[in-house]
């Protein structure tokens, strides 16, 4: 038996709008099921209260425009804070594993936040990773395995150039589902190339395909990379009954996934089959985390778990492709990918579906051989047309990057052509 800490925060008084999938009712039946199964007072599971995340804990990870309080509700602060509580429980050795079973979710939230996208404003896993590093030091290696049906584009964005983080997302193929990204070719920035691993799965993938992905890709990669902590961003919308996706996992499949992965920390992401799936997936997940017997967990209403032969072949092909890229990641000539100059520059248009905001971003990464490189991002949106400049330093910046970033920040402030110039550096204070 493994001691599991459970930070359960169903936010029974919060919704994006009354009939939105992210509404008060979402975790009601999950609460009922966990309570009825007696898991809240099972000897190996202990429940803990969430708390509010502080500005510092959020702004270490995010840049919120125009200001933090203008974009988040208390509920977002509690979900982020609850995730931090879950991390602290494990760091402090109060439990061996913990599960932040809370809402609203976070994995579509990028580093720069102009509003809500994919129901997310703050990225709970990313805030958790930065909290882990702030307590345990910048050398910490953290792997995030995102098992939501939607590509974790926000988490990918935040750790895109971060060598301390390995981000693996398995999801329904972006050609068939929001947010339309997460292809195998998205592999990370110049400072962390190959550490963004996307596994797009064909619609209809069931337990068999998921287990194949775990055994052929996720587990071998984790074994090789040797993270200090494994976080599972546990979306539950790969379930066959989910109303907004097309996958075919069962509650048993999710429990097996959890047992195979053996994550230290689990954070709930999406999942909107609130009656037919979530209660059973969450019970199975808790049991699997605690090392208890989950063999009898199943949905009352059947209909999935299986996949066709064609899908099996397709999944096997994706696994092969991803593993080949992973194994050859260090052979890639980065000059070919990111160019030869001092900076790698990219321009992006980002759409916030939940709030209907268009953001335009220009992102420059310093190509540095001693560290992941400092970054500069110019951002503006249909809601905040005045551009904002952000100067970013990685967790372990080299001296030259620190100097250059500071000089650039001072220059941008002097120039006064930006509405705001934000300095974001977890390790280096300004001045």
């Amino acid at each position: 038996m493994t001691q599991v800490g459970l930070v359960f925060f169903p936010a029974f008084d919060w919704a994006i709008s009354p009939d939105h999938p992210e509404r008060q009712e979402r975790l009601l039946y999950t609460r009922d099921q966990i309570q009825e199964e007696g898991l809240f007072d099972h000897p190996s599971i202990r429940e803990y209260r969430p708390r509010l995340a502080t500005d510092e804990e959020i702004l270490r990870t995010h840049v919120v425009i125009p200001s933090l309080d203008s974009k988040i509700t208390e509920s977002h602060r509690i979900a982020a804070g609850g995730t931090i509580v879950a991390a602290d429980l494990v760091i402090d050795g109060l439990v061996e594993r913990s599960f932040a079973l809370l809402r609203p979710p976070g994995h579509h939230a990028n580093r720069i936040v102009h509003g809500s996208r994919g129901f997310c404003v703050l990225n709970n896993e990313a805030i958790m990773v930065d909290h882990l590093r702030s307590r345990l030091g910048p050398d910490l290696k953290v792997a995030i395995v995102d098992t939501d049906a939607h590509h974790a584009d926000g988490t990918q964005d935040i750790f895109y150039n971060d060598p301390g983080v390995l981000h693996i997302s398995l999801h329904q193929d972006g050609r068939t589902l929001y947010p339309g990204t997460g292809f195998v070719s998205e592999r990370g920035g110049p400072g962390a190339y190959g550490q963004t691993v996307n596994i797009p799965l064909p619609p209809g993938t069931g337990d068999e395909g998921m287990l194949m992905v775990m055994e052929r890709v996720v587990l071998p990669i984790l074994q090789e990379w040797k993270p200090d902590y494994v976080i599972n961003a546990a979306g539950q919308d790969n379930h066959f009954s989910d109303p907004i996706t097309n996958m075919s996992f069962s509650a048993q499949g999710y429990a097996q996934l959890t047992e195979l992965l053996g994550p230290d920390l689990v954070v709930l992401e999406g999942g909107y089959s609130i009656e037919g799936a979530l209660p059973y997936i969450n019970v199975g997940l808790l049991l699997a985390l605690a090392g208890l017997d989950y063999s009898k967990v199943e949905e009352p209403y059947k209909g999935g778990g299986r996949q066709s032969r064609a899908i099996s072949q397709d999944v096997a092909r994706v696994c092969g492709e991803v593993m080949e890229l992973w194994q050859k990641r260090s052979e890639v000539d980065l000059v070919q990918v990111f160019g030869e100059g001092d900076f790698f520059e990219r321009h992006r248009q980002i759409y916030y579906d939940t709030d209907n905001i268009h953001e335009a971003q220009q992102d420059c990464v310093r190509l540095c051989t001693d560290c992941p490189g400092w970054r500069m991002i110019y951002t503006s949106s249909s809601r905040n047309r005045q551009p904002v400049a952000v100067v970013l330093l990685p967790w372990k910046p080299c001296r030259r990057c620190q100097r250059e970033a500071k000089a650039q920040h001072a220059y941008l402030v002097d120039e006064a052509s930006f509405e705001q110039v934000v300095w974001q550096s977890p390790a280096v204070k300004l001045g």
Partner: protein, 562 residues
């Protein structure tokens, strides 16, 4: 005419009795508890207290007894088998429940929908499967039976055709969710049912003419009739701590909304809390002898620190008190020094022989190379120190209770006490320094030593119900009274309607049990959710938990005591 009642609290060491007339305490008596024959010492206490009664009008008797607590803790209940309908979920065998289980197929889901019906052949084969076993009672428990008891009821109907022993049904004992606890609660209830009936028979037979009505005290501080206690004997467990807390509610003059109750005994100290004028209850239910139940109970935490606790001296750390009892204090003729001896030696209380206590302190102090006064002071300080630590841990536990809404996280309920109310013989010595350390006003309860019996006498009958309404399915369930109704106009059945119905049904239920149903029915807990499917509202789900308030009669201070 003033109501005259007698409260009897059977404790581990003593049986206390109180005679209360209206708001006045007429008498208190104490007799040693006869563990081998509880009824004998109960009767002795009753006879002794009745000697103080000069009236001719019949009196009520409220009895708080450890009978069933002892039966359970000592594992002497009847051999009980649980017939369970687990459906999918946690593997029951992995929970190691302390009762043999017979699992049946069938399944009711969280909404109370019957997903899989019972296999009627399997139900009929129960008889065969029990043939070779020495089973004395049965418990029938289904997962989510509190949301729809139909499968438990069907089994009960089948059993009634041939089974002669006691059968307890899970849904009748609690409306709360928690299948393992419901199994345990129902099994324990079934296992003590026969004993309770035997006890009641003796009680009725032994009834004095002067005793008009007997009520049994419950773990929630209310009382129930003998008939009710035959159905739900499990509710009579742990009534002792509840009696003391009811005593505080009856006697305390404390005006604070939040206060801490500290009951210091010889062996243990019990802590309980009043928040916003209400005694705090266990979140799920009482825990007894390691069994987690759904029995509504006042929240009390007990730890090994009392007037007769053992003392250990560790150089560098000072005195450690408890957790075991040392025995009779030296001042009363015992052989081991106790905190009571420290209080006596310092002259804080007069009890037994001060000289005996003093010379024993001198001997021990000399062995340790200390001054006797210094050692006595250290014992008194250690008592306060350990009490402080326990109070801290108690409130830390309370403040760890989960919060499920943004509102609660932003404005968590304020639990911290604004005053301390102490009771128990050593309270007058140990409460003032603790209260000073906590910087709070304090009160030592009058009749401190008999507050439990006074609490039992002053307690009133209570009932609690859980109403669950689902307007999409059009169902209303109140498991405790076995009620299932239909919602005729789902669109108009809002939370307010659910509250009204809950209140109405609580009174109806109370009346059917012969209780005074005119008291305050209040809502202990409620929740209401809009159910949306595919961007369309399909119904509302309301849960209302009501209770006939466990009021107590207020006792005027200054009455006679003997």
């Amino acid at each position: 005419m003033e109501t005259v009642s007698i409260g009897i609290d059977v404790g581990g060491t003593n049986t206390d009795a109180a005679l209360v007339c209206g708001a006045e305490v007429l008498a208190l008596v104490k007799v040693p508890t006869n563990q081998a024959d509880l009824l004998q010492s109960t009767r002795e206490a009753l006879m002794k207290i009745l000697q103080h009664y000069n009236g001719t009008d019949p009196v009520r008797l409220h009895l708080s007894t450890t009978l069933q607590t002892n039966t359970i803790v000592e594992g002497r209940g009847a051999k009980t088998k649980a017939i369970v309908i687990p459906g999918p979920g946690v593997h029951l065998a992995s929970l190691n429940l302390p009762f043999p289980l017979l699992e049946l197929t069938g399944y009711v889901d969280h909404r109370g929908r019957e997903v899989r019906p019972l296999d009627i052949d399997q139900v009929r084969r129960i008889q065969e499967s029990l043939d070779n076993e020495e089973i004395e009672a049965l418990a029938v428990v289904g997962k989510f039976s509190q949301r729809n008891p139909c499968q438990e009821e069907l089994i009960a109907r089948e059993l009634s055709a041939w089974y002669k022993g006691h059968v307890s049904l899970g849904h009748r004992l609690s409306g709360r969710a928690n299948f393992p606890r419901r199994i345990v609660t129902t099994c324990l209830n079934a296992s003590i049912a026969q004993k309770q009936r035997d006890f009641l028979q003796i009680l009725r037979g032994a009834k004095e003419d002067l005793v008009a009505d007997i009520q049994i005290l419950k773990a929630d501080g209310g009382t129930m009739t003998l008939e009710e206690s035959a159905q739900r004997p499990i509710e009579s467990i742990l009534s002792g701590p509840a009696a003391s807390i009811m005593g505080v509610k009856a006697l305390s003059r404390c005006q604070a909304k939040n206060f801490l109750i500290i009951d210091i005994g010889g062996t243990t100290t019990d802590l309980a809390a009043v928040v916003n004028g209400e005694v705090l209850f266990e979140r799920d239910g009482a825990i007894i002898g390691g069994h987690k139940t759904l029995v509504p109970a006042v929240l009390a935490r007990s730890f090994g620190l009392g007037g007769d606790s053992e003392l250990n001296y560790h150089p560098g750390q000072g005195i450690q008190i408890g957790p075991r009892r040392a025995g009779t204090p030296v001042c009363l003729g015992g052989s081991a020094l106790t905190p009571t001896d420290a209080a006596v030696a310092k002259g804080l209380v007069e009890l037994g022989s001060k000289d005996r206590a003093r010379s024993a302190w001198d001997v021990w102090a000399r062995q340790l190379g200390l001054q006797a006064e210094e050692l006595v002071e250290e014992v008194l300080r250690a008592f306060t120190r350990q009490l402080m630590a326990a109070v801290d841990a108690f409130y830390r536990e309370l403040e760890g209770m989960p919060l499920y809404t943004v509102e609660e996280v932003l404005h968590p309920p304020r639990l911290k006490p604004d005053a301390v109310v102490g009771l128990g013989a050593p309270a007058e010595v140990f409460i003032p320094p603790l209260a000073k350390a906590l910087d709070l006003p304090w009160e030592i309860l009058p009749f401190s030593a008999g507050a439990n019996a006074i609490g039992a006498a002053a307690a009133r009958s209570t009932v609690g119900l859980t109403l669950h309404a689902d307007t999409e399915l059009g169902t209303i369930t109140i498991p405790e009274m076995g009620y299932q109704g239909e919602i005729r106009r789902p669109l108009f059945f809002d939370l307010e309607k659910a509250r009204k119905l809950g209140e109405e049904k609580t009174r109806e239920y109370a009346k059917s049990l012969g209780y005074d149903a005119t008291g305050d029915v209040y809502i202990v807990e409620e929740e209401s959710f809009q159910m949306v499917r595919g961007f369309r509202t399909v119904g509302q789900r309301h849960m209302v938990r009501t209770q006939l308030r466990p009021e107590v009669r207020r006792i005027r201070i200054g009455g006679k005591s003997t």
